[in-house]
């Protein structure tokens, strides 16, 4: 009697399934890697390069064509220049076809040659700031003015490209030196940590409080829950500008209220003074994201088995005891997951601070610093270097995160 052996290896069916799976995933993988993976690699590449905003327009030859003079002196002029003042361009050529009815007369200067109606010039290398002029004496049959449009309408083709900073293989650590230079970096790091830690903890505590309030059913519970989600759902520009208006030192209602209540003798510049601005952006972060923690904690609370509370009631546990000894241990899982997620997202937050203070008055976090370096100082390379620092921090966080979340969520 032969015993049946289970088939080994991958069967045809499983193979087909895997193939279909990858086909279905392909569009996502391709698009995501184009917009996420590729830029991430690009960031590392750029961070080692002296790349500024002006390098976005690489040096290129610029040519302008015009019909000049009159009578015997009639000529077509090409003016060629290097758009950059200090970078040379290689392989510069100009090619143009003279329109019908325009007859070239005589010879033209060295790098150019005429074959029939076709003009071709080879300039080789064009130094930074160099200008060239090509004169082609011509005669036209008819009115020169009518030919002007015809001549100027035909665009000459120009080739030649300067060295692009992006694609060459010269690297330098200059950007990192600039980023880590001085006390500024440590200031930025400290602000980021303050903002992240207190923003995260504050939003969690407020969320827990709000969830405790709404963890019972009463009339209007749905309405209040919806209301408490407003700060999170509204567009960030709307709420950020509202806060700026509300706390404006001259026309802000909050200041008027404080002065009127006698809490402050003169208006306070909430988003303009040094320690206060950082506290205010952290408070804004807490205000805007407590709804999120609240929603998650409430969802978890409502799934806690009520028989546990009934048993506790039978044993005579007091409300505080039930909270500390039953609810908190039950919520610990979601609280730690939320903490890690919010920690990373707050660390990544850019819009809020940028809109509230623009990173001024001691509120410049790492993410705002990316923008500052890249666009305000117009040094994209330095911005990329800051971005690399952010990514390194995030990789550390993610390692911690996955260690925890795989335990909590069983991923």
């Amino acid at each position: 009697m032969t015993s049946a052996t289970p088939p080994t290896g991958t069967g045809a069916l499983a193979k087909r399934e895997a193939r279909l799976a990858w086909t279905l995933l392909a569009p996502t993988i391709i698009s995501v890697s184009l917009v996420v993976i590729l830029p991430l690699l690009a960031i590392f590449w750029i961070s080692f390069k002296p790349f500024t905003l002006s390098d976005l327009r690489p040096p290129a030859p610029v040519v302008r064509e015009s019909l000049r003079g009159s009578g015997d002196d009639l000529r077509i002029e090409y003016r060629l220049r290097n758009s950059s003042q200090d970078i040379a361009i290689d392989g510069v050529t100009v090619r143009d076809v003279l329109p019908d009815g325009v007859m070239p007369l005589g010879d033209i200067a060295a790098p150019c040659a005429l074959t029939g109606q076709e003009l071709f010039c080879d300039f080789g290398t064009l130094e930074g700031g160099q200008r060239e002029r090509i004169r082609v004496p011509v005669a036209v049959d008819g009115d020169p003015d009518a030919f002007e449009d015809l001549v100027e309408g035909s665009e000459p083709t120009v080739t030649g490209s300067g060295p692009s900073v992006l694609t060459n293989f010269e690297f330098s650590l200059e950007n990192f030196a600039r980023v880590f230079d001085g006390d500024e970096f440590w200031g930025v790091l400290w602000v980021t940590l303050f903002y992240t830690v207190f923003g995260t903890i504050g939003a969690l505590v407020m969320g827990l409080f709000a969830a405790l309030l709404l963890n019972k059913s009463f009339k209007g519970q749905g309405f209040i829950r919806g209301l408490y989600l407003f700060p999170y759902v509204a567009p960030v520009i709307a709420v950020a500008f509202t806060w700026v208006t509300l706390f404006d030192p001259f026309s802000g209602s909050a200041n008027a209220l404080l002065v009127q209540m006698g809490l402050s003798s003169e208006p306070i510049n909430f988003f303009g003074e040094r320690p206060l601005a950082l506290i205010m952006v952290t408070v804004f972060e807490i205000w805007r994201y407590f709804p999120l923690s609240f929603l998650f904690i409430l969802a978890r609370m409502q799934s806690i088995d009520s028989s546990m509370y009934e048993a506790a009631d039978m044993d005579g546990a007091s409300p505080f005891q039930k909270f500390w000894l039953l609810s908190i241990p039950q919520l610990l899982g979601i609280l730690s997951v939320l903490f890690l997620l919010r920690f990373i997202w707050t660390f990544n937050k850019f819009d809020d601070i940028f809109l509230l203070t623009g990173g001024n008055a001691g509120t410049r976090t790492l993410t705002v610093n990316v923008y500052e370096q890249a666009f305000a100082v117009s040094n994209i390379g330095a911005g990329a270097a800051v971005a690399v620092v952010i990514l390194l921090c995030l990789i550390t966080f993610s390692l911690v995160f996955f260690k925890f979340i795989s335990r909590e969520e069983g991923l």
Partner: protein
């Protein structure tokens, strides 16, 4: 510590401070007149009221009511919990007095429900503290959520002079009729907001459709098929959540500048879905996992192909999830600010968020900025309130990008 004559006055004192501040702030915002809570006097009055409410149980309602009425009436003098400015209208004064008396009576009766005068059990004590915290919580959260939105709407209806004169005065002059909305008409007439609204709308809708088209097959594959790398894949979806947008925006800005996609709606429509596909995929695969496989297997047995099963069985079954995901993606696209800000410079192609940012300058009056904020908020709020159930579910399911 756990004595009725001790707990009662303490809770009463704290509660009157809360109530006095709340009413003073509310009245200030409503009328623009001067209302000032007096903390020390509130503590004294509140302690007395607390003592009275503990001393007289609920059956002596008239004694309790008398104490509260007295509290309200003290506001007419300068020794009350709320100090009312001299130039306040009679109605506002009356409303304050009645509000203090009524709110204080009702809430104190609720907080100090059956608290005995003498020794308290642990339960009685903690229940009273919890009732106090609950009351405080509702007032606190409602205030912090409502005040900014109230200020936003009201500021958009005021004129610049009125605002600078008294920033607290939000009372509306209803006689001017439609002129009340002049900021809005000016935004639509002079600042092209109609076109921004339309751009934002169709960009968001396109984003939703493209996102769904990409993420439904992907989510199905992750949820249903076994293949090598499935686990790694669902993990890396989560990882993408954690890359900050500003880091990606920098190379995208460079690439778009070099290819000429910057300043074009096409570029925006290409980029937005990619930021939402991972979220949508994660939410949908969670939902697909929860669907019974038997129905799909039955379909397969009857000779449908996999794709037909997805189209004819899975998708109709997951319509609620699709609604949640669509709403959520719509919200992200509508609220998106950073990419629109960096990639769009041409005012004829602005999305709404980019258009509102443009209004934030010292030359443009504040009420225009606030009117822009209201225009950006109202559609998303209307969607949210109308479909709150879907939205809440979507927010929780996706563990949500912040």
């Amino acid at each position: 510590m756990r004595q009725g004559y001790f707990t009662g006055p303490i809770l009463g004192a704290l509660w009157l401070v809360v109530i006095a501040t709340t009413i003073a702030v509310t009245m200030s915002f409503a009328t623009g007149a001067a209302f000032r809570p007096q903390v020390l006097l509130s503590v004294i009055w509140g302690a007395l009221a607390g003592l009275a409410y503990v001393r007289f149980p609920a059956r002596h309602a008239s004694a309790r009511l008398g104490v509260s009425a007295l509290l309200g009436l003290t506001c007419l003098t300068s020794f009350g919990p709320v100090l009312i400015g001299s130039d306040t209208t009679l109605q506002a004064v009356l409303v304050t007095v009645v509000a203090i008396a009524a709110v204080m009576h009702l809430s104190m009766a609720e907080i100090l429900k059956e608290l005995p005068f003498g020794e308290l059990t642990r339960h009685e004590y903690e229940d009273a503290v919890i009732r106090f915290c609950t009351g405080f919580g509702y007032i606190f959260f409602t205030a912090i959520v409502v005040i900014p939105f109230y200020v936003m709407v009201m500021t958009s209806l005021k004129s610049q002079q009125a605002l600078l004169q008294n920033p607290l005065d939000f009372s509306l002059d209803l006689d001017q009729g439609w002129a009340l909305f002049r900021s809005y008409t000016e935004l639509f007439r002079d600042f092209n907001f109609g076109s921004y609204l339309w751009t934002s709308f169709y960009v968001s809708v396109l984003t939703v459709f493209i996102t769904l088209a990409f993420s439904i097959p992907g989510a199905y594959a992750v949820a249903r098929f076994r293949f090598k790398g499935q686990k790694a894949f669902s993990r890396s979806i989560l990882l993408i959540y954690m890359v900050p947008m500003i880091v990606l925006a920098l190379p995208i800005y460079i690439a778009f500048s070099l290819t000429g996609l910057r300043n074009s709606i096409l570029g925006i429509v290409m980029i937005y879905p990619v930021t939402t596909i991972p979220v949508a995929l994660y939410m949908l695969q969670g939902y697909f996992r929860g669907l019974p496989t038997e129905v799909e297997e039955a379909g397969l047995m009857d000779g449908l192909s996999r794709l037909a099963v997805i189209w004819k069985i899975t998708l109709p079954l997951s319509l609620p999830a699709l609604a949640s995901v669509s709403l959520y993606v719509f919200m992200i696209a509508w609220n998106e600010f950073l990419l629109a800000f960096m990639l769009l410079d041409d005012p004829s192609k602005f999305t709404l968020t980019r258009g509102v940012t443009m209004l934030n300058s010292s030359e443009i009056p504040r009420q225009h900025l606030m009117a822009g904020a209201v225009i950006a908020t109202i559609p998303i709020m209307a969607l949210f309130l109308g479909l709150e159930r879907f939205m809440t579910k979507g927010l929780t399911a996706g563990s949500v990008k912040g």
